[in-house]
Amino acid sequence: MATSGMMTSGFSPVMANPGMSFQERSVEVSTGTTIMATEFDGGVIIGADSRTTTGAYIANRVTDKLTKVTDYIYCCRSGSAADTQAIADIVKYHINFQRMEMGEEPLVKTVAYIFKQLCYDYRDQLTAGIIVAGWDKRDGGQVYSIPISGMVQRMPFCTGGSGSTYIYGFVDSQFKPNQSKEDSLQFVSKAVSLAINRDGSSGGIIRLAAISKDGVERFTLTGDQLPKFYEDS
């Protein structure tokens, strides 16, 4: 089944949910999704859609897939909702510990490598595609991609989730290094909007965040604020 490995059939102990049909009771809750992160001049921009599905039922249409790990480092979650939430909580725990011991903000690279270690060691049991993005004072804005198998790779920009397949052409042609914050926000919101338009597992609103030395600024694009493209009638 061509769903970019985002949904796995299998028994999951989901609480009795009257909204689910009979077939959906044994399908995982998945954030079949579109997530994205890009470096800009001074930090990073991250973005995601807001749809969580159980089979074809939209269980949550206002999900927040941009999860805080520290004040300057966020992660974008795709894949199994339960797996990614659990991993993010464990990483947060480890990094809080380190922050207290070291007395200074952790590096983005450190957070990315802790994510990687969990995703790699438990790769057979997890379905998690994560993008770690943030700012630290040593290397500025950084984006690290941690796809399903548990590798880690720093990249100038990255997309993920089932919706990302529809926008490879767009992002490859439109990305420019060292853009301004506003241009990067436009780039991410257009890309996510295009993916939402084509991917059934992505939708809802677009959540964005800009992370720089000044901290995190969050944005939400709803309804008519989503970038529009050619649509007949």
């Binding site: 089944m1 769903t3 074809a56 039922y57 939209i58 249409r61 529809y166 991917d199 009638s233």
Partner: protein
């Protein structure tokens, strides 16, 4: 994934005062991927008779073709327009002929009696079991959501303009909770002397 959910669809019909309405989404997709947003699932079978076909897209088109053929032969032999109830039996027969290798469509029928103008709606399962109701019928991948919306919003004897609003809101809010239907909607309001076709502006996600 179920074969009936491979392409995804949402169709419903409602009875009003001397009118009926039938509405459908416009998505054509292959599992999670949306291929086009202008796929017709509601077909005119007579001046005041419409059929909506949700389900596997190839069967939507084939059933429509084969049904049109049978209907044309009927009208040539009988030299008159078919009654909605008779048409329902025709569809049921066509589907049951394929009892052990069925067409993957679960049709919705809406129309007015050609002589009396009395409103008629019906739906059926993929092997032709018919269900006639006096309020509304729904079919598609988000049928549970549509049942919820119709049950809350429908009331008897709605005028055509009110019926349009009701069916539009019921359909849109139902398919907004379904990942494989939506991407546009079309509504037909069928009255004795005219049929109004309206496109709805919907979320494109």
């Amino acid at each position: 994934m179920s074969i009936l959910a491979y392409n995804g669809a949402a169709i419903m019909a409602m009875k009003g005062k001397n009118c009926v309405a039938i509405a459908a989404d416009r998505r054509f997709g292959i599992q999670a991927q949306t291929v086009s947003m202008d796929f017709d699932k509601v077909f005119e079978m007579g001046p005041n008779l419409y059929i909506g076909l949700p389900g596997l897209a190839t069967d939507v088109q084939t059933v429509h073709s084969r049904l049109k053929f049978r209907l044309n032969m009927y009208e040539l032999r009988e030299n008159r327009r078919i009654k909605p109830k008779t048409f329902m039996s025709m569809v049921s027969n066509l589907l049951y002929e394929r009892r052990f290798g069925p067409y993957f469509v679960e049709p919705v029928i809406a129309g007015l009696d050609p002589k009396t103008g009395e409103p008629y709606i019906a739906s059926m399962d993929l092997i032709g079991c018919p269900m006639e109701t006096n309020d509304f019928v729904v079919s598609g991948t988000c049928s549970e959501q549509m049942y919820g919306m119709c049950e809350s919003l429908w009331e008897p004897d709605l005028e055509p303009d009110d019926l349009f609003e009701t069916i539009s809101q019921a359909l849109m809010n139902a398919f907004d909770r379904d990942a494989v239907s939506g991407w546009g909607a079309v509504v037909y309001i069928i009255e004795k002397d005219k049929v109004t076709k309206k496109m709805l502006k919907t979320r494109q996600d």
